[in-house]
Symmetry: C2
Subunit: 419 residues, 2 copies
């Protein structure tokens, strides 16, 4: 009898409020992410597993990257407060929602809310767990690389859209992380004409230029820098491309115009920091099903819909992580309404996510692995990963394709730059 | 019978949620402002008046200048949403609250929320009425003065406390308002040492320096400028002192230290923009009662507790304005739950406030009157109003004490400034 009690799964009904935009221009839209959440739900509720006693009542509400998430939570909460909130992703919307959720002691797990401000978990963001690597985690790649290659200074160059401000928040993370280096910021606004002369003037005394902006603007700057001789080892150029959002450069030089040849040569000095995706065999099944769901939702027109992005994977793993934490908390005698306890169980642990191991730091933020991509064949204009950064242990690993010469400031003091 | 019906006052119960901090370091604390709200309530509910049928159920909740106001509204609203919200004052707290109140169609009247961002009433701040002149209204004083005196350039110099950021928002208003002039910004952080050399270097090519910071920092800068000969007509100095908050300079040069004499001479070049307070005879009674309430609350230790500040007056007048608007809306057949209609009746109108006429612009923001104070007796070191700005009609009026020479950049091109 005792044994039967021991093996009987813990049962609980869990109200989940998921806050995602309906607009499919977002990589984390309802159509893209909801199949991953249902996939995780099926796996968790499947017979025989340790979480098969959990019943997830998943309720979706629209997020609009402004105030809808907060309004959805508030308007729905007079009936019954949710036990778990997934999302929202956008920074400003998440800030408002997480404050109220923390006030109500409701765990929030998001694959967004990546800005540096959310790392302060002692007060208003106490209930926030970040299941995708934040901008600060990404920025560790730069400090590891700078330390390894003995660089000292950088210019952070970004386009501010004044709306969701992904590029602002991305380089804000780099700025905070690189506080021991000589770092300057250069902003321009999306609606303004890009003054490449002024940009290049500002590049002068920086060893590295770290950029976040649309792909066309990246190309414009690289072409201008190439014309001024800044791409011959005078300066190292980086762009950041975390999840293929349109605000990020995609590293591609090719446009089929008369500048392609120059651009290819210019991009030989441009390296891209991107997520390192390690994938285990079981991932293939998940990936296939996500592709099928995208097809059904009519999403396959866009370039990157076939692939599982960081948000899709993240919100899937959010369900697993919550189930693990709730299960532990309940075994210890706590109930689902004790958000503080459940959130604590999600932090400082490693678990098997759908694509591989997921490592959460003591502060409830996922450690990230990143790759540095560089052009390894200038004739063909093709890119390869030349280095990896592993966030869980902080190692910077050079790959065989890494060419030390390519990352040395050779031209710096030889020829004065004529602008 | 018809006549009896016509003169019978409109009756209604009105739930008012007032959001004020308990901490008396705020000029808009519960102890300071609540007596003014009760004073207005008594006047409105008094027999025989047009609003004597209104019964105000006033409920106070704590505001902490962070998130408390939002939480108070949300937590209380499952029972019954308020009909009117007064406050909060602090910018960030007001932003969150007004968004939700606008979503729920509840009028908010505040003597705060003075930042430029709140002027956009088409979306998330639709229900906000500002009963005290905003920073943009104050900034009109500078554009009127610059136009009148043919100045072209200014340096905006402020101390950022990174918390409530009154000085940041104050000069943000000036920056927006002066977009047709050559204006630069210089920030320093409250916790950092003030580098007066660097400040003065930046003053060089500006005709006017407009400052917002603590009184001691103002004095430090004026003394440094005086030592470098910048106070002899090379440059005009202004500070802004709207409500005597400790973050604002109080224009006083005297400290009883060995620099008093230099400071007095330096302050001969410093003018202060402040609220112009016109007071009608009936105000005396209100003022006396506020003083009595302050005494009862044990507030008379502090310097400015005896006087009625902008917040105390504003929240009093907020009750009057709402009563007028609700009365009109109800006469037109609307009920108290139609926030949009009531808010519309509060905008674009002039009414008799406790201290004098109050003029609300079409956007629901109060027009402001401001004075320019300058030292008129350098031997005695005493100040007088030398000019007034009237917001309702945009006139800039020179007073007899205005000394044109004092506001002419005489030294500017005569002697090079040696720094």
């Amino acid at each position: 009898v005792l044994s039967a009690v021991m093996t009987k799964p813990i049962t609980e009904d869990i109200d989940v409020l998921v806050l995602l935009p309906h607009n499919n221009t977002y990589l984390f839209s309802y159509d893209r992410v909801s199949p991953a959440i249902f996939y995780a739900q099926r796996a968790l509720e499947a017979d025989g597993g340790p979480y098969s006693g959990f019943r997830f009542n998943i309720h979706f509400e629209k997020s609009d990257c402004v105030n809808d998430a907060l309004f959805a939570l508030v308007d729905g909460s007079c009936r019954q407060k949710p036990d778990l909130i997934l999302g929202p992703v956008c920074e400003y919307e998440a800030a408002a929602l997480v404050r109220l959720a923390s006030h109500w002691n409701i765990p929030v797990v998001s694959a967004g809310a990546l800005a540096a401000g959310f790392r302060s978990k002692s007060g208003e963001y106490a209930q926030l767990t970040r299941i995708a690597p934040s901008y600060l985690k990404m920025a560790e790649t730069f400090t590891a690389m700078f330390e390894h290659l003995h660089w000292k200074s950088a210019l952070l160059l970004y386009e501010d859209d004044k709306q969701e401000r992904n590029c602002y928040f991305t380089l804000e993370g780099v700025y905070h992380q690189m506080s021991d280096y000589h770092v300057r910021l250069y902003t321009f606004f999306q609606e303004d004409r890009l003054d490449t002369d002024d940009v290049l003037q500002n590049i002068q005394d920086a060893e590295a230029v770290i950029m976040c902006m649309g792909a066309d603007k990246i190309r414009e700057i690289m072409l201008a820098a190439h014309r001024r001789g800044l791409t011959s080892g005078n300066c190292l150029f980086f762009n950041i491309e975390l999840f293929n959002a349109s605000s990020y450069g995609n590293g591609s030089w090719k446009r089929g115009d008369k500048y392609d040849n120059d651009a290819r040569q210019a991009y030989a000095s441009l390296s891209t920091v991107t997520l390192l995706r390690t994938v285990k065999p079981e991932f293939e099944n998940f990936s296939k099903e996500m592709r099928r769901s995208s097809e059904k939702a009519g999403l396959l027109h866009c370039d990157d819909c076939g692939s599982v992005n960081m948000f899709v994977e993240g919100f899937h793993d959010a369900m697993l992580l919550y189930a693990i934490a709730l299960h532990e908390a309940m075994k210890n005698g706590y109930n689902k309404k004790n958000g503080t306890e459940i959130t604590a169980h999600m932090w400082n642990r490693t678990f098997e996510g759908v694509a591989g191991q997921v490592s959460m730091d003591v502060n409830g933020d996922r450690n990230g692995d990143f790759s540095l991509m560089a052009m390894t064949n200038v004739e063909a204009g093709t890119y390869e990963a030349v280095a990896n950064y592993f966030g869980a242990n902080g190692t910077f690993q050079l790959l065989p394709a890494f060419n030390a010469e390519r990352f040395t400031l050779t031209g710096r003091h030889k020829e004065p730059v004529d602008i």
